[in-house]
Amino acid sequence: MAKTLFDKVWDAHVVEQLPDGTCVLYIDRHLVHEVTSPQAFEGLRMAGRRVRRPDATIAVVDHNVPTTDRQAGIKEADSRLQVETLERNVAAFGVPYIPLLDDRQGIVHIIGPEEGISLPGMTIVCGDSHTSTHGALGSLAFGIGTSEVEHVLATQTLLQKPAKNMNVAVEGSLPFGVSAKDIVLAIIGRIGTAGGTGHVVEYTGSAIRSLDMAGRMTVCNMSIEAGARAGMIAPDETTFEYVRGRPMGPKGEALERAIAWWRTLPSDPGASYDKQVRLDAATIAPMVTWGTSPEAVAPITGTVPDPKEVADEAKRAQMERMLEYMALRPGQRLTEVPVDVVFIGSCTNGRIEDIRAAAAVARGRKVAAGVRALVVPGSGLVKRQAEAEGLDRVLTEAGFEWREAGCSMCLGMNPDKLTAGQRCASTSNRNFEGRQGPGGRTHLLSPAMAAAAAVTGRLADVRELAR
C-alpha cells in the first residue's frame, strides 16, 4: 500500500503494537530544557530510574535566560533555580548539556538542526510544543508534556496511537515580499487553530519545495498553531545539503548511507491523506494577526474585521473580546496601527536567514521615534554568523538592540516582556492574551514585516518600502 512520509517514519519506529492499536514508539532524539524537565527528573529519582539513552538526549537552557550580558548571571531567583536545577540534573543523570556560556547555546529548536542533532527520518520529542519545527528535515517531531518527558527519559519510548494524515499543498511561486511566515499564517487563517487536530500535516507543493531549510522550519514550527500534532516536509537535496557538515550529524560514508535511507522516505505516489488543503502561493500577501489567536490573521492590505458581520453568537463575542483586548476598531486599516515594540527572534524566526531579511529592510533606515526594537538571535552561532556578515552593525546603526540568544520576548518568562497596553510587532508564534507579558498586545508577522514596522512605527507593508 502506498505510504506517506509520516507512515514511513512512524512504521520505522514501532517497537510493539498493543492489541488496542496503541504503539510503543521508539524515540531517536529527546531535547530537554529547563522549564518542562525538573518534575520529570524528580520522578526518575523518586522511582530509582536512570536515563535509558543519555546519548540520544541533549539539554540546553533557553526560556528563562536573560538576553543581555550573561557573565552577570541570572538575577531572578526562580529563573536561576530552574537553570541550576537542570544543571544539577544533567550532571546527576549523565545527560549531554550545552552550557549557558557556550557559543552553541540557544533556543532548543534552533540548535537541534544547527548542530545536526535533528536529522531526517527520526522521531524527535521535547517538552515544548514547537518541537514541530524539526519536521522540516523530514522527521516526526512533536511536543510532549512533562510526564511524557519522564517516560522518554526512562524508556526511550512513548505510548501513542498513530495520527491521521493531512496534506497542505502550496503550489506556485511566492510573490515578491512574501515569506515562509506569511505562508504558514495564511494556512492557519484558512484551516483555523484546530484545523490540524489529530493529524500530522505534510507540507508539499512547489512553493514549499522552493523554500530553504530556515523557511521550512518556520512553516513546520507553527503547525501546532493549526492544532496539528506535527508538521513534516519530505527530505530532498536542500535537506541533504543542509545536513552535510553539521557538527553532531553523520559524516563521510555514514552520511552517504544515511542519505540513501532518507531518499526512501518521501510519500509514495498515490499515498492518500485523510484531509487535504491546497493554497495558491500567488494569492498570499504579507500577513499580520489582528486578534489573540493565530487564526485571527489578515493580509497587511486588509482591515480589522467587524464582529457585526459574524453570524455565530459565540464567535462574535470572541471577536469582540479580541478587539477590545487588542484596542482595535472594526474597519481600521492594519497599516494605521502604531507599534511600541518590535521583536525579531524566537524558534519561529531566529535563524540567520531571518536576521538577514530584517537587516535588508533596516539597512540605511532608522527605527521610528518612540519604538523599541529588539533583535534576538536564535543561538550563539547565529549571533556569531550575523556579526561575521556585519548584520549586527546594520541593525544597531538603525537603532535596533542586538542581544544574546534565547526565547526572549516570545513568552513572558525572562526579563524581555511587554508591559500592559504595549503593542508589539513580533516574529514569534503566539498572540495569546498576555503571552509576551500581562496586558501586552501581539501582532504576528515575518522578520521583514517586523523590520518594516520598526522603521515606520506602525504595521506596514514591506513591499511599499522596497519599491
Partner: protein
Amino acid sequence: MKPFTKLTAVAAPLPMANVDTDKIIPARFLKTIERSGLGVHLFDTLRYDAEGRERPDFVLNQPPYRHAQILIAHENFGCGSSREHAPWALLDFGIRCVIAPDFADIFHNNCFKNGILPVRLPRSVIDQLMADAKLGANSRITIDLEAQEVVRPSGERIHFDIDPFRKKLLLEGLDDIGQTLQHVAAIDAYEAKTQSERSFIPGIEVHP
C-alpha cells in the same frame, strides 16, 4: 496517580472556545520545579485584576463554583503550549474532569497522565450541560467512567467515548512508565536491530 472512577460534583460553566494553555496558566508561573501549588494561579488573568484582586464576574470566583470539580467549555480547549502545568493547575484547584466538544492533542494527552478525565461531547450536548452548570450548587453532574456516562441533574444519561487503554489506566490509577517497562525486552530488541540497521546515526556528545 489518583484513580478516576466516579465523580459527582458542581460543574463550572466556561463558555469560551480556544482556551489556550497561556490562559489556563500564564508562562510567568512556570518557573517552579514542583507539580503542586499552581491552583492559585489557575486562569490567572481571567480570575484576578492587575492588582491581584478577584474579578467577581469570573466563574471560579463565584460561591457555587469555588469548589467545582468539573469544567465545561467550548471548542479546542487547551490549545497552545505543551505545558503540563495546565493540567497540574486544574488538578491543584480541584478540577478532575473537563467536558468540551474537542481538545488540543497535547493537553488532552497530558490530562490522562494526571488523573484528569477529558470528555468529548457534541456541541449540542455541551450546550445542555452548560445550562445545567449555570444553575449552580444544586445542579450536580455525575461522571461515571466505568459506564462511560455523564449523568445530568435531570437523571438523563449521556454516553461518551474513550480510548479503552486510557480508560483502564485512569480507572486503576496506573503509571504509564510501569506499563511500558513491561515491554522492555521488545525495546532492547528494537535498539539492537536499529543500531545495526541505522548505524549511520551517531550518538550525541557535547565536546567543550
